[in-house]
Amino acid sequence: MKRIFIDYEKCVACKACEIACAIEHHPDKSVLSLVGDKKAHSNVKVIAVENINFASSCRHCDPAYCVDACPSGALKRDRFMNAVIVDPYMCKACAMCAMVCPFDAITFKKTYNSPFGRDHAVKCDFCIERIKIGLNPACVDACKTKALVFTDSESFVKSKEKADLKSFLVGHSKEPANVKLFKELKKEML
């Protein structure tokens, strides 16, 4: 089963993934519409931990803490990608899911999909509709340094020395020289 992986050594924190995700989930599908739009949202977030930047999002765990916690029938596993999907119609924004997600991958927001004019759980939906027509998730396509990779999980995890969660993050390949330089310069500037 394909999953999105983050090769953090390559991430330059340009946030192209965040913008691409927000565009993909906006009804107008345009970057201009995002400006000042409170209902726009990105399901991926670039975070910085001790000089390391990387895009963080839902891992579509299996079994998933969040699915097991939802008391409203709003979190389901999609058959096609085995992805964990929120149904905003059933979601009551009770936060049982967010309370247990180790990666803080669920937030709450009033979006264009809110059926009842209030917030609901918002998380990565794997861009299922794009994948169905043969495209990559929007964030993966937007990533210029190929830090985000959409690949078969088994082979990717096996190719790592450690199969623990940390290796999920660790580099697919070595950091390219130009990226390394960019990061060094950035550190100097901080």
């Binding site: 977030k45 975070i47 931990v49 001790e50 390391i52 990387f54 963080s56 803490y65 097991d68 916690a69 008391p71 409203s72 029938g73 709003a74 119609y89 059933m90 009551k92 924004a93 009770c94 936060a95 049982m96 967010a98 309370m99 247990v100 997600c101 180790p102 990666f103 803080d104 991958a105 669920i106 937030t107 709450f108 009842f116 209030r118 917030d119 969660l165 940390k166 993050l169």
Partner: protein
């Protein structure tokens, strides 16, 4: 094999679904004194605040058909003869079983049984309550409501009535609402947030002493300090009673071990089960959905595969519906407290022997899942905990992962 459930609540629905999705072809009969398809008590208050009824049927409206379940609904179980493996319904009909799943839920506790006969006084425990309250608000054009009891269910009720546009007053005995899921300081912080960010009026250190009635209808309440409040609606949420009488057991819940068995072929789960706590091993009724789910699934696995997975219940909870400052708590507030607090966030973690013993997180969910996992795994955290307490979104897990 014939498998019978007493109750059609969350535990029973989860149980039956686990059986069927794991290949069980057994005869399954679900019995309940309620007339409904399985519904979510977590979702149902939203019907009062104006959302459609189909959203409360969390397992789908074709549940019984989809899983080929026979049902006996709207009729009470009056006795269970465990030696004869027999459930008696309405004092007459008998249903025999090979395995019994007992999850009959609980009901609201009323301080005075006479209140039950007054129009305008309701509990807030089942879907029937919700439908009747909704109807009453419409037919009587209710404007003012009093919620007696500011625990989780009471605040849930108050918020949904407030969303509906009613003028709502919560009367609570303690010096803060949600007193069971908060410590002093955190609870006062949460109470102030509720006051500040919702229009709910909260009266503390008080109880409703009497009700004011005119021609059979509620007109108001009087408090223990002598004050009175005008109201057309009173919701009583000061406690619940597990429905265990039909097993001939006292009302504090049926105490079971990790096997969740009351008797050879009788399992209990949900609001009626007094189970061991995963961390403290202390027995108690831990009536939340995740516990009902893990109990129900463990029992289904035990029946199907002879595998016992249950590792105990947790007392985790979160209140977030209708508000933007989640109130999250777990465990017990004993040990050494570590606190982070600013205008929007209050976080406190209690450590014992360097392990998390309890926590309270008000304001957001940023570190809650991370802390939850430290708690259930009982990892040694020590002073390190301070560096996680003030974190903003998304970082805690990775800081830990990358620092190893």
């Amino acid at each position: 094999m014939k498998i019978v459930t007493v109750g059609c609540g969350m535990a029973a629905a989860e149980f039956v679904e686990t059986l069927r999705t794991n290949g069980s072809n057994d005869d399954i009969v679900m019995i309940s004194n309620e007339p409904f398809i399985p519904y979510s008590p977590c979702s149902m208050p939203f019907y009062i605040s104006g959302e459609p009824i189909d959203t409360v049927f969390w397992k789908g409206i074709n549940f019984y058909k989809r899983y080929n379940i026979k049902t006996i609904l709207g009729r009470p179980v009056t006795n269970i003869a465990v030696e004869n493996k027999c459930v008696e319904i309405n004092g007459s009909d008998r249903i025999f079983y090979d395995k019994l799943f007992f999850a009959s839920g609980s009901r609201s506790y009323f301080p005075d049984d006479n209140w039950l006969n007054i129009a305008g006084v309701f509990g807030f425990k089942n879907l029937q309550d919700i439908l009747v309250i909704d109807n009453y608000i419409k037919s009587e054009k209710v404007k003012r409501a009093v919620v007696f009891g500011g625990g989780f269910i009471g605040i849930d009720a108050a918020l949904s009535l407030w969303k509906r546009g009613l003028n709502v007053t919560v009367v609570h005995r303690n010096n803060r609402v949600l007193s069971q899921m908060t410590d002093q300081e955190g609870g006062i912080y949460a109470t102030e947030k509720l006051r500040e960010k919702t229009g709910i009026n909260i009266i503390l250190k008080s109880v409703v002493k009497n009700i004011i009635v005119d021609s059979g209808k509620l007109k108001g309440v009087t408090l223990d300090n002598g004050d009175s409040l005008a109201a057309e609606l009173l919701i009583v949420t000061i406690g619940v009673i597990p429905n265990t009488e039909m097993l001939g057991v006292n009302t504090k819940g049926i105490e079971v071990d990790f096997d969740l068995k009351y008797h050879n072929d009788v399992y209990v789960a949900g609001d009626v089960a007094s189970t061991k706590h995963m961390i403290t091993q202390k027995s108690g009724v831990y009536a939340t959905y995740p516990n009902a789910r893990s109990q129900a699934r463990s029992i289904a696995y035990d029946i199907l595969f002879n595998k016992n997975l249950f590792r105990g219940s947790l007392n985790t909870n979160v209140l977030k519906k209708h508000i933007e400052f989640p109130i999250i708590s777990a465990g017990y507030f004993e040990g050494d407290p570590y606190t982070y607090c600013d205008e929007e966030i209050f976080r406190r973690i209690y450590l014992k022997d360097d392990q998390i013993y309890g926590y309270l997180l008000v304001g957001d969910t940023s570190i809650s899942g991370f802390i939850y996992n430290l708690y259930i795994s009982q990892k040694k955290v020590g002073n390190n905990i301070m560096k996680f307490l003030s974190l903003k979104r998304g970082k805690a897990y990775y800081i830990q992962a990358l620092s190893v």
